[in-house]
């Protein structure tokens, strides 16, 4: 899904692959952005992302990404008592995550504006 794979079904073709890659890359930073304001537990994060149109096709695939972000040290988790039920893992941004988000934000705005200027129909 990440890489362009030859011989994919026609409907997923070239453009489908590109959009999937863009989505995949951007999704990580959407997670960081959601955690910027407050810490959240997994289900909360996943449902928030699922609200964004076309962002998440299968909710379960967010968890491997969260695990990877944690291994990379941009987020960390703490166990917190929940109002109802068993304790939950809460995700929060680390200083390095905060830096990564800041850099992405600048790069993204430049990139988006640049592409928009060229691609947008008048």
């Amino acid at each position: 899904m990440l890489r362009m794979v030859h011989g994919r079904p026609a409907q997923e073709g070239r453009d489908g692959g590109l959009i999937a890659q863009l989505r995949r890359g951007a999704l990580e930073y959407c997670v960081l952005a959601l955690l910027e304001r407050r810490e959240r537990y997994g289900f909360d994060l996943v449902r928030e992302l699922a609200e964004v149109d076309g962002m998440v096709t299968s909710e379960g695939t967010i968890y491997p990404m969260l695990a990877r972000l944690r291994r990379d040290g941009v987020v960390e988790t703490t166990w917190r008592e929940s109002p109802a039920g068993p304790p939950r893992r809460y995700y929060k941004l680390t200083p390095s995550g905060r830096r990564a988000l800041k850099e992405f934000r600048q790069a993204w705005v430049r990139f988006r504006d640049g592409v928009d200027r060229v691609v947008s129909t008048p």
Partner: protein, 204 residues
């Protein structure tokens, strides 16, 4: 049963995540379990349709596992190559490379995650050496033998009586049955193990 569906889902997921390190697998299973609990806590009715909906939104366990392998750079096990080698070696490994070939087959059999312990025991004990025993019986051992009495000297002539000792009819039948079992049972076990292999991973 709604709980049964959740259990099955997590079980499938665990099997799909088999290529990941144990700690990583446990972490992901724990998170997804937590997700399901949270989602169901929000759902008022707690019925089958709600559970279905939660699991559908999570997506196919194989997609989650694929994402996890990509995120952590873990290659997917080439399923089957080792298992096929194991089955071939269990059957004829002992013939190609006497005894040792069969032992390698046993090691591969027990290294695989496809089969249950019971299936592995069957593969090992039915029968040790695979088809080596019937092949050896065919080549090396005749079902009849010749017995001779000690030579007796009578004047200038030495007399020795020889006669064929054939097995009785009953023994002959028993030998054929035994021979057939030695051929059929290992092949039957190999076929069963091969079928199990295609069915997927063993229940934990």
């Amino acid at each position: 049963m709604a709980e049964q569906a959740v259990k099955e889902y997590l079980h499938d997921l665990e099997a799909e995540l088999r290529d990941l390190p144990r700690s990583r697998r446990q972490e992901l299973l724990g998170e997804i379990h937590e997700h399901i609990d949270s989602a169901l806590a929000d759902a008022p009715a707690h019925d089958e349709a709600e559970v279905r909906n939660v699991l559908d939104r999570l997506g196919d366990p194989s997609d989650i596992a694929e994402e996890a392998r990509q995120r952590f750079g873990v290659p997917k096990t080439k399923s089957g190559a080792m298992e096929i080698a194991a089955l071939i070696l269990l059957l004829i490994g002992g013939i190609i490379l006497p005894v040792i070939g069969w032992f390698i087959g046993v090691i591969l059999l027990w290294s695989s995650r496809v089969w249950t312990t019971g299936e592995k025991l069957a593969g090992t004990l039915l029968f040790p050496g695979g088809l080596l025993a019937p092949v050896w019986l065919t080549i090396g051992v005749s079902f009849t033998s010749t017995a001779c009495s000690p030579p007796i000297r009578q004047g200038q002539v030495t007399v020795q009586g020889c006669y064929e000792t054939g097995p009785t009819v009953f023994m002959r039948i028993a030998q054929y049955v035994l021979f057939a079992a030695l051929v059929i049972v290992p092949i039957a076990v190999a076929i069963l193990l091969a079928r199990r292999m295609r069915a997927g991973t063993a229940p934990v």
